[in-house]
Amino acid sequence: MPVIHLTDQPLDYTAITESVRDPAAGAVVLFLGTVREFTAGQQTEHLEYEAYREMAESSLKQLADEASARFPIVKTAIVHRLGALQLSDVAVAIAVSTPHRAQAFAAGQWLIDTLKQRVPIWKREHYTDGRVLWQHPAAVADSAAGQSEGT
């Protein structure tokens, strides 16, 4: 069973990494998405994340299942933080183990890319100039500050 978790506490990425180690695996990849200060010249003061928790949890489970069908995954862990995050805080941790390294990199890449397209979690930027804006990829053109790339 994959480890799937949404939490408002700081992510323990050492424990998340440990949770996917296994004698069947020869490779572990850990991806961390962290809060960046500057995005296209806009300075972030802090971020907030909100989730549709019930759907986000089932959607993360589906993601882990789909990844297991695509890649020879031994174990997967996906943990996303919610609430207020400061610069450099870890927003998401994805750990995956596979028999060989190329598969672990590919699976980790697919998991974060697909999470960002599908899982109902939203980011609200609090900029240093006082503006507060929800980020939505499709709204980039409508907003001077809109940015689709969070991590």
């Binding site: 974060i112 960002k116 599908r118 939203w122 990829p137 499709a138």
Partner: protein, 85 residues
């Protein structure tokens, strides 16, 4: 469930701000399409109309298309494109 009842509609992120509420209860006669729910939602929460083309919809925690059938007791969710990670 059969017969009349209500459908719960949840709003998230910018959709909640635009709707001015986190949740609506919509009376429905029996089975309806998500498209019919969408029309009712946009009438009740007119603030969503500028976002209409962006909005994503889910029924019972799964992304859904306008033709998806919705019945009393179901939970519909309405939200903007996701931006986690």
């Amino acid at each position: 469930m059969t017969g009349a009842g209500t459908v719960t509609v949840l709003f998230f992120a910018a959709a909640r701000d635009a709707a001015g509420t986190a949740q609506l209860q919509l009376p429905v006669p029996a089975k309806v399409t998500l498209a019919q729910i969408q029309q009712q939602v946009l009438r009740h929460a007119g603030g969503l109309q500028p976002l209409q083309s962006l909005l994503l919809w889910a029924v019972n925690n799964q992304y859904a298309l306008p033709a998806t059938m919705v019945q009393p007791g179901d939970t519909v969710a309405c939200f903007p494109p996701v931006s986690g990670g």
